[in-house]
């Protein structure tokens, strides 16, 4: 003999509230609805230097997140880094798309920016992007700047006079 009791009601309310909180956390806080499921295609790109890029960093085009970095590995044949990106299949890109490693904000995290080209054929899964631009490393940037200053310094100063 099973009878309903007020105890069951309270436990039901408790479970409902708890599951509601979980739902709130996953939908409103973690934004599960965007892009995590769904079909993706994988695109590779090789960079001389990836800076501080990490797995799961966003792949953006025109500022919109179109995918995520799924894998980073070091290639021993060319001593380059190969970055595998999972791009949402809702967003096809032409074959001559170029990839850049960019930084969000002044000190923010790094992400890959895709710049679409003009080719009529779209990228297929597993293809490699030809045009890439490595991450800017602050130290080498400063080094370059100082070097070019030193190189052009003595030539320019007499001209000014």
């Amino acid at each position: 003999m099973m009878k309903r009791s007020t105890l069951d009601l309270w436990v039901g309310v408790f479970v409902a509230i708890g599951l509601g909180a979980l739902l709130f956390l996953s939908l409103k806080v973690a934004n599960l609805t965007s892009l995590d499921t769904g079909d993706v295609y994988k695109v590779k790109a090789r960079f001389d230097n990836i800076g501080g890029l990490k797995v799961r960093a966003p792949v953006k085009s025109a500022g919109v997140v179109v995918g995520r970095i799924s894998e980073i590995r070091f290639m021993t044949d060319t001593y380059e880094a190969e970055v595998v990106m999972s791009v949402d299949s809702r967003y096809p890109f032409p074959r001559d798309t170029s990839a850049k490693i960019l930084t969000s904000g002044l000190l923010g995290d790094q992400y890959v920016g895709l710049q679409a080209g003009g080719d009529t054929v779209n990228l297929k899964s597993g293809e490699t992007l030809k045009l890439t631009q490595s991450a800017m490393v602050l130290e080498s940037l400063i080094g370059q700047f100082l070097y070019s200053k030193a190189a052009e310094g003595p030539e320019k100063s007499p001209e000014k006079k």
Partner: protein, 263 residues
Amino acid sequence: MTRVFALVTDLGSRVTAMIWRAGFAARFFWAMLRHSGTAFRRFHLTVRELYFAGVLSLIIIVVSGLFVGMVLGLQGYDTLARYGSSESLGVLVALSLVRELGPVVAALLFASRAGSAITAEIGLMKATEQLDAMEMMAVDPVARVVAPRFWGGVLSMPLLAALFSAMGIFGGYLVGVVLIGVDVGQFWSQMQSAVDFRQDVVNGVIKSVVFGVAVTGIAVFEGYDAPPTAEGVSRATTRTVVTSSLAVLALDFVLTAFMFRGI
């Protein structure tokens, strides 16, 4: 010479007692897991424990979650405003709650609110020979008393932790957006882009399940192992709170080290 001898004997007997207890705990947990079928076949027993462990903990969880979130909002705003990034307040509040504070503080509250009650109840049942009476009637007390309490606690812990985090984020929203005036859209959108479902929410739930097993397991064992006297039950109750709080904090470190080591 005799004092040294007494010291060594004392130490030896303590170590032996500890090992004895550990072995008994292992056997007890095995028996409990074996009899867990009863907790689900006769689910009304577990529902009753869900009521005592979960529903009655709701108030303390909701209120403390709200206040922890509100304090996080105030403190976080104070620090973030110095760097001109007060819009990241939502990220700070949500990440610290979902990853750490939600599971840990909810488990600590659960240990003192529900764990101590479980120990006292089982210990008193043992002291008043109710457990022995059950055995006389061929009812296994581990199946009838212990397993439903264990599963009631384990099932309610993740729900309570999620509720704590949700209430905390709401508290942070109240202080940050309503009181101080951080932009609503920035608050939520930055939070949504920073909090990852698998990395943060699921790991938080895993943590709270592990804490639920640890806290309720310690509580039922301490109750079952309590000396059947008034003093013994009171000591066992204290030990439940102390041991399970320490276990939660230690396990949290281990779990965090595994989960968030940065891939």
